[in-house]
Each structure stands twice: as structure tokens, then as C-alpha cells.
């Protein structure tokens, strides 16, 4: 399949910045795909989006849109990509309908109205065509911006932090709606976000950026289950690292390598709270509870292992362990776990002894 957008070794280094904001970035976007650019603030996500839109020009590398090289000769107005800015950028002096029609500049006059009304109906705002932007709620404003981006039926739209200005209460709903709208319109999208749960929920593929470098690109499951760098593991959430010695002993029990593991002095294994079993009444405790959070269905604990490392674990809500109590922690995971040497993944290990779940 031909990618709609292709970035090849793109670098962006403005004069005032001490180092490049985007460093030789390569990625592809395929038709009807939702690609999420994920990363902490300042990682170059928004800049990447602006490079694709043509609002900035790369210092090096090549951006291809629908097979055509998009450089200085293809200004933003010729790229035919929809864009939804973080502040929505609705024209404050135009009604909803006028805002959407403004994007249909290239459409013949007679069809403009129909197409605009269709786009407005598509995002569920039928009946609000004559409202001014300031008369709409944040969620409605965002949908107008999406309708405006989708109205000319572009093959791709770009969304910059589309959910950041919305209340958490409606964010989940809007996210699902956006997926439905994009699927119905058969439009590919690149969405910028710094929220990894959002990325996991909405993306077909996630591209993880840090300091302008692409750390990993893949399905959400890949990124969460098989992080290739320590940063990726940490950023995808709830990651703890437990050190592994030369005999493959860890504070949580012994592990065996799966396939080859490149041995290193500071080897550690990635554990998430669901990989850890908790034993409350044990003769051989190996950790101390130092913090407890009640999260409704379960308790979430921070525990300090005897070697000083901290890990997180959970118990069901009927088991409440007091802070300061010593408990036993062991591996619960039966699946291979990722090992890291310094910053980079170097293989997998599985636990020898599991199932001491209390």
C-alpha cells in the first residue's frame, strides 16, 4: 500500500535553538490509519505536525505527500491536509456554518452549502449552524474544528492535542466519537498527544518521540508490551525496574532467559504491577509498604524492596495492608518480561517460580 505521507530523515533545526527540534525522523502514514505522535512536552511532536502541514520547512530530509515531494514548492494551502489546532482556531467573527464553508473554498459554489451541512451533521452539530464560536461549549468548538478540517474530504487530517482543552469527564466520549467520525469518513489522521492512555486507546499505531528522536513506532500493544528503550517503558506507564544479577537472581525471585540475553553489569527487568504477586502473611518478607492509595476496586501500593528499589503493586479492595508492614513480593507473570541493559532492551526473561499470589 502506498503511504499518504512519508517522512524521510527529516531534521528541523531553527537558528535560535541550540539543538535540532526534530532529528532525522522517518515515518509513514497509510490510508485510513490513525497514527498517534506521543511524547512528553518539548519532544518535537507539534513541530513534526507543522512540518507535515507545511507551516515550517525542514532543514534536511524529505516529506512526501501522496507521492509528491512537498518542499518549498508546496505551500500549506496546496497540501490539502485538514488541521485541528490545539486552540481550535475557529474564526471568532464567523458562524459555525461560515467557518466550515471557509474550508470549502475550492468546491463549486452550489455544492458548498450541502457539503458544509453534511460535515456539520457528521460531527453531530446539526441545528447549531448559525451559532457563533463563543456560544459553543469547548467540546462543540472542537467538533466544529473537526468538521471544518473534514469538510473538503481530505485524505488526511492532523490534530494537535485535540483533547487537552476538554474536561476529563467528556474526554473519553469525545475520543470514541472522533474514532467513529474518522472511520466513517475513511480519513487517515495524525494525532499529537502527551497522554499515553489516550494514545493507547485511539491509535492504530503509536510513534513515540523524545527530544526530537523517534524512539519506537508500532501498535499500542507493541509499545506497551515490548518497549525497546527504558524511556519507552517508563513513558507508557506504571513501569518498575528490578535489578538482575549474573546468576539471574532478582529481589522478586529467580528468572531464566528466553532466547539470548546480552549480559551486562546493570541488567534489570521491567515489571508492571500486574506482574507482581503479594503475600501478606509470610515468614520471609522482602519488602515494606511505604505508600497506599485506594483506587476503588483495588489498593495501589508503593513498596520498598530490601535492596532499596521501589516497585508498585495492587491488592483487591478487600485486602488492606497497613503502611509500614513488611510483606512478601514475588513474580506473578507467566509471560516473558523485557530486560534492559542500561537504556536499551536486550532480551526477555521469565520467572522460574510464580503463583505465590495470596
Amino acid at each position: 500500500m502506498e503511504p499518504i505521507i512519508r517522512l524521510h530523515q527529516v531534521t528541523y533545526h531553527p537558528r535560535t535553538a541550540t539543538q535540532p527540534i526534530v532529528k532525522s525522523l522517518s515515518l509513514e502514514l497509510y490510508p485510513a490509519e490513525v497514527l498517534v505522535l506521543l511524547g512528553p512536552s518539548g519532544s518535537g511532536k507539534t513541530t513534526t505536525l507543522r512540518l507535515i502541514a507545511g507551516l515550517e520547512l525542514p532543514d534536511d530530509g524529505l516529506i512526501t505527500i501522496r507521492g509528491v515531494p512537498a518542499g518549498r514548492t508546496m505551500p500549506p494551502e496546496a497540501r490539502r491536509v485538514g488541521m485541528v489546532f490545539q486552540d481550535y482556531a475557529l474564526f471568532p467573527h464567523m458562524t459555525v456554518l461560515e467557518n466550515v464553508r471557509f474550508a470549502l473554498h475550492a468546491t463549486p459554489k452550489p455544492q458548498q452549502l450541502d457539503q458544509a451541512m453534511h460535515a456539520i451533521a457528521q460531527v453531530g452539530l446539526a441545528g447549531l449552524e448559525q451559532r457563533m464560536p463563543h456560544q459553543l461549549s469547548g467540546g462543540q468548538q472542537q467538533r466544529v474544528a473537526i468538521a471544518r478540517a473534514l469538510a473538503p474530504q481530505p485524505s488526511v487530517i492532523l490534530l494537535d492535542e485535540p483533547f487537552s482543552n476538554l474536561d476529563t469527564a467528556i474526554r473519553d466520549r469525545v475520543r470514541t466519537e472522533l474514532r467513529t467520525i474518522l472511520r466513517a469518513a475513511n480519513t487517515a489522521a495524525i494525532i499529537v498527544t502527551h497522554d499515553q492512555t489516550e494514545a493507547l486507546a485511539i491509535a492504530d499505531r503509536v510513534a513515540l518521540l523524545h527530544d526530537g528522536i523517534l524512539h519506537q513506532i508500532g501498535t499500542p500493544e507493541d509499545l506497551f508490551g515490548e518497549p525497546r528503550t527504558r524511556f519507552a517503558a517508563q513513558f507508557m506507564g506504571s513501569a518498575d525496574f528490578v535489578s538482575v544479577n549474573a546468576q539471574f537472581h532478582t529481589p522478586l525471585g529467580t528468572v531464566t532467559p528466553v532466547g539470548t540475553v546480552a549480559m551486562a553489569a546493570n541488567l534489570s527487568v521491567l515489571v508492571r504491577y500486574d506482574d507482581i504477586a503479594v503475600t501478606v502473611d509470610t515468614t520471609q518478607p522482602n519488602a515494606e509498604v511505604i505508600e497506599r492509595l485506594f483506587e476503588g476496586p483495588h489498593y495501589h501500593y508503593t513498596c520498598r524492596l530490601d535492596n532499596g528499589e521501589c516497585v508498585h503493586c495492587r491488592t483487591p479492595h478487600e485486602t488492606k495492608i497497613p503502611i509500614g508492614q513488611r510483606i512478601g513480593l514475588s513474580f506473578a507473570a507467566t509471560h516473558p518480561m523485557v530486560c534492559f541493559a542500561a537504556e536499551v532492551a536486550c532480551g526477555h526473561v521469565t520467572a522460574v517460580d510464580t503463583g505465590r499470589r495470596s
Binding site: 502541514a53 507551516l55 494551502e77 489546532f85 486552540d87 474564526f91 471568532p92 471557509f102 457563533m132
Partner: protein, 542 residues
């Protein structure tokens, strides 16, 4: 009236003293104008008044002068703002400062200095003739006198009135709007017409209305440039007219024009664009093409040469090379120095006093409900009146009701207050408005009295804006001429009078030193305005 719809809770309701001060200002502002209106309407048209054809010409001159000045100022101010804010270029901050500097330049100083260069047989024509490039009188230097010259010169002086609000509006508009329009695929002219222009129209319009009213009442510049307008006619009648009824009749059209304009602009200017969400600006490192940058720099430089460098240069030359008649006309330096001290003291005191008492209407405007808004608007009526009308109104008040005040300083101070109160109300209101209600509610919740809330919460937050308002009116009063000439006690010569007296008789050299002193005195308030503007700017960019 949007102000009236603001939620009023017991926490915010103004106190009685605040209401009284508001009433005082509203009364001060309304009385002279009503008196001018009444006397103008009651004056019969008699033989002693100028003949009809002459009156019609005055009307025509005045309206063309005011309209033309508003238009040209709009072009200059909007053009400067667009060049400075939208062309990506270096020295942007410097140009922002330079574009505001003409605020300090009195129009009559600009007229006499640029005049010495550009008038017929001025230094420019003499130089051209000496180079044998032209003969005396072949080039149209005569256009300098009359309508064309007056309009252009006043517009150069008043361009900050349009530049400041338009540039602020451009800076506060999210840069994403323009980019969004580009991504919609529309050509640049559609983008410009449908996105940029609507964004800056309300602010530009507001500025141009101010300029229009300023031009209606401007006296010094048209009389130096030999353009008879209603204002100059009012003056010459005032000198020779004992009962002053003729002057009231002449100022009737000015009052009507200003009132009509105020009514009209309230309806039109109310549709300010509503901005919401964070403001985003393009990265400063992006630069436009070299040609575009060069054109922008050249235009801005040309404007500042005309409005600033030429006047300063000419003033400097006059001071350094005294005219042959200098010995006869030169005012003793002690007289001049005392005039300068007197000017700065009075202007500083009146500006401070006005700023203090105008805090009351500024508070009442948004928290006093319907009547608060009405009273505060009446207090602003002085801004809609040409300066000469206000001065005349105060003359009538004094001569009709308190004749024993004639000859004292009080009438002049009253006129100054009425002239500058609207500006202060406006800038204080703009300083108070962004302070969230919750701050006051939180402070009251902690048991603070309303006075304590005002002095400890509101004032510290509003101080930069209030100080900028002070600076703006101080600048206005420094160069104030018509009210000073009409109302000053004998011997009370401000710097403006020291400039005007010799200048009106063509002895420009004698006016140079006081003019330089005046510009020097304007540095302090001007820097206040610039600091405020830059602080706001930094906030937007952060």
C-alpha cells in the same frame, strides 16, 4: 450595553463614596457641554456673525480635515501595525517603540519644524534650487499649506492612536487563525480580507474615532498651516467677542458631530472579536524574504524620519544657530525654566488627581449595574468633545455661575480634568477588567473589608495599567493648547504657551528651546507607556 450584564453581587457592589465621586465626574463632564449646547441653540443668528458662505466653508474645511486625518491616520497606523507585527523581521521591538514616539510630539511643533523644510521657499526647495534641479515655485510646495498638509502632518502625529490598539489586537489574535486559513487552501487576499481585516477592524475603528474628534478640536496645527476651521474661527472670535455667544454658535456643529459619532461608534464598535483559548504566535526566528524586510524597514524608517527625525533635527539646528532677531525675542532662561517647572508640576499633579478620582467611575462602570454604566459613560463624554468645546464650556460655567473664579487657576485645572478623565476611566477599566471576580471573593471570604480588598488586591494587580493611563493623560496635557490659551491666569505660561506665542507670529527659532524641553519632559510618561506595552507583550509571548 455589555457592562450592565455583569453579575453584581453584594461583594462587588460599589460603596457610597465611590458613587459620589462618579456622580461628581459625570456632573463635571456634562455641565460644560450642556452649557455650550444650550447657549449655542439660544444664540440668534445675527449680522455680527460670519456670513453664511464663510460658515459653510468652515464647515466643509473642518469635516474634510477631520475625515481626512482619520483616514490617513488609519492607513498609517494600520500599515505600521501590519508591517511590524506580521512581516517576520529583525528590530521588531525597536520599531514598536519608535511607532509610539509621535505621541510626545505636539502637532504645532511638527507643523513649524516640518514647515521650515517643506513649505514654499523652505529649506528643501532652496536646496533643490541651489542644486539647479528646479526653479523657484515650479514644484507644488504650496500644497503644504491648507488641507493636504494639515491632514498629513496631523496624521503623522496621531498615528499611535491607531497603531497601539491595532498592534495589540494583532498580537492578541492567535497566529493559528492565519495558519488555519492557509490550510483551508484560500489565496492570500481572501485570507487577508476575511481573517486579518475583521480581526483589526474594531480596534482600528476605535482609534480612528478618537483621531476624528481630536482633529475636530485641533487648533494649533491648522492655524499655523493657514487652514480656517471651526476651531480656529472659535478662537479668533473669542479674542474679539465680549459676550462669547458667537463662539457657542460656532461650536454647535462640533458638539453635534461628536455626539452623533459617539452614538454611531457605540453601535458599531461594540462588535469586538471575542478571543478565547491560549494565544499562539509564530516562532520569532522565522524571517520573511529579504525584499519584504527591506520594504518594511524602508517604510517604517521613512515615517519616523518625517514624524521624529526632521522635527528634532530642525529644533536642534534652531537652538544652536539663533536667528538674527533672537536677542529681541528670546525669553530669559529663568522665565523658561520656571515655565517648564510649572508645566511639569501642574501636569503631574492634575494627571495624578484625575487618575485617583477616575478610579471611582472605572469601578462603577462594571459593578454598578445599569446606572453605574450610564454615569461612567457620561463621565467619558469629555473624550467625545473636541478640546476647544470643553474649554469653552468651562469658560461659560465660570462666567455664568462663578465669575469670581475668573483669573484663578481652578478653571484651567477643571478643564484639564474633564479632558483627561475619559482616558483614565478607560485605561483603569481595562486594568481592572481582567482581574477575576474570585480574587475579590476569596479575599472577602478571608474577612478583608472592601477597602482592604481594593488596596491590597485590586490596586496592585491593576497598577501597571493605571500607571499607563496616567502617562497617557500626562502626555496629552503636556502639549495641551486650546484650553490653556483660553483659561490660563495672566502670566501662567506653560511650555506649550511658550512655544505657541512666538510660533504663531512666525518666530520659530524662539520656540525651539521650549519645544525641546517639552519633548524632554515627555520622556518619563512615554517610557511608562512603553514599559506597560512591553510587559503585556511578554505575557502574551510566554
Amino acid at each position: 450595553m455589555r457592562a450592565a450584564s455583569v453579575r453584581t453581587t453584594p461583594y462587588h457592589a460599589p460603596r457610597r463614596a465611590v458613587w459620589l465621586l462618579t456622580l461628581l465626574i459625570a456632573g463635571l463632564a456634562a455641565t460644560p457641554i450642556v452649557l455650550v449646547l444650550v447657549r449655542g441653540l439660544l444664540t440668534p443668528y445675527t449680522q455680527e456673525l460670519p456670513p453664511w458662505p464663510f460658515l459653510l466653508r468652515l464647515l466643509q474645511n473642518t469635516s474634510l480635515f477631520a475625515l481626512g486625518t482619520a483616514g490617513i491616520t488609519g492607513i498609517i497606523g494600520i500599515g505600521q501595525a501590519l508591517l511590524i507585527e506580521q512581516v517576520p523581521m529583525r528590530w521588531r521591538r525597536l520599531w514598536r517603540v519608535v511607532a509610539v514616539l509621535p505621541l510626545a510630539m505636539p502637532p504645532y511643533v511638527l507643523a513649524m519644524t516640518v514647515g521650515s523644510v517643506a513649505r514654499p521657499r523652505g529649506s528643501l526647495e532652496r536646496w533643490l534650487v541651489e542644486q539647479h534641479w528646479t526653479e523657484w515655485g515650479t514644484l507644488p510646495f504650496g500644497m503644504f499649506y491648507g488641507l493636504a498638509g494639515s491632514i498629513v502632518l496631523l496624521a503623522l502625529c496621531l498615528s499611535p492612536y491607531v497603531f497601539l490598539p491595532v498592534s495589540a489586537a494583532l498580537r492578541q489574535t492567535s497566529g493559528h487563525l492565519d495558519e488555519q486559513a492557509r490550510l483551508c487552501g484560500v489565496p492570500w487576499y481572501t485570507r487577508w480580507w476575511h481573517v486579518t481585516v475583521p480581526m483589526l477592524t474594531p480596534s482600528a475603528f476605535g482609534g480612528m474615532v478618537l483621531v476624528f474628534i481630536y482633529a475636530l478640536g485641533e487648533y494649533g496645527l491648522p492655524s499655523l498651516l493657514r487652514l480656517p476651521t471651526l476651531s480656529t474661527a472659535i478662537f479668533s472670535r473669542y479674542i474679539g467677542d465680549i459676550d462669547q455667544s458667537g463662539t457657542a454658535l460656532l461650536s454647535l456643529p462640533l458638539v453635534c458631530a461628536a455626539l452623533g459619532l459617539l452614538h454611531w461608534s457605540n453601535r458599531l464598535g461594540g462588535q469586538a472579536p471575542l478571543h478565547h483559548g491560549p494565544t499562539w504566535r509564530p516562532r520569532p526566528e522565522r524571517e520573511g524574504s529579504r525584499r519584504m524586510q527591506f520594504l518594511a524597514h524602508a517604510t517604517l524608517l521613512g515615517l519616523s524620519v518625517c514624524a521624529l527625525l526632521v522635527p528634532l533635527g530642525v529644533l536642534g539646528a534652531w537652538v544652536l544657530q539663533p536667528a538674527p532677531y533672537a536677542a529681541a525675542t528670546q525669553v530669559h532662561w529663568l522665565v523658561l525654566a520656571s515655565g517648564a517647572v510649572r508645566t511639569f508640576l501642574v501636569v503631574g499633579a492634575v494627571a495624578s488627581l484625575t487618575t485617583m478620582i477616575a478610579l471611582a467611575p472605572a469601578l462603577v462602570l462594571r459593578t454598578g449595574g445599569f446606572w453605574g454604566a450610564v454615569l461612567a459613560r457620561i463621565g467619558q463624554a469629555g473624550s467625545a468633545m473636541p478640546g476647544i468645546v470643553v474649554a469653552l464650556g468651562v469658560v461659560f460655567v465660570v462666567s455664568d455661575w462663578v465669575p469670581w473664579l475668573r483669573g484663578s487657576l481652578l478653571p484651567l485645572i477643571l478643564a484639564y480634568i474633564i479632558r483627561s478623565a475619559p482616558q483614565t476611566i478607560q485605561s483603569s477599566d481595562a486594568a481592572f477588567m481582567p482581574i477575576p471576580h474570585v480574587y475579590r471573593e476569596a479575599a472577602r471570604g478571608m474577612g478583608a473589608s472592601s477597602a482592604r480588598v481594593f488596596w491590597r488586591i485590586m490596586m496592585p494587580l491593576a497598577r501597571p495599567g493605571v500607571l499607563a493611563g496616567w502617562a497617557l493623560i500626562a502626555l496629552g496635557l503636556l502639549k495641551e493648547l486650546p484650553a490653556t490659551l483660553l483659561l490660563r491666569p495672566v502670566g501662567f505660561d506653560t511650555l506649550a504657551v511658550h512655544i505657541w506665542m512666538p510660533a504663531s507670529e512666525g518666530m520659530y527659532h524662539a520656540a525651539a528651546l521650549p519645544a525641546l524641553l517639552l519633548l524632554l519632559g515627555a520622556v518619563l510618561p512615554l517610557s511608562q507607556i512603553l514599559v506597560h506595552d512591553m510587559r503585556r507583550d511578554r505575557r502574551v509571548e510566554e
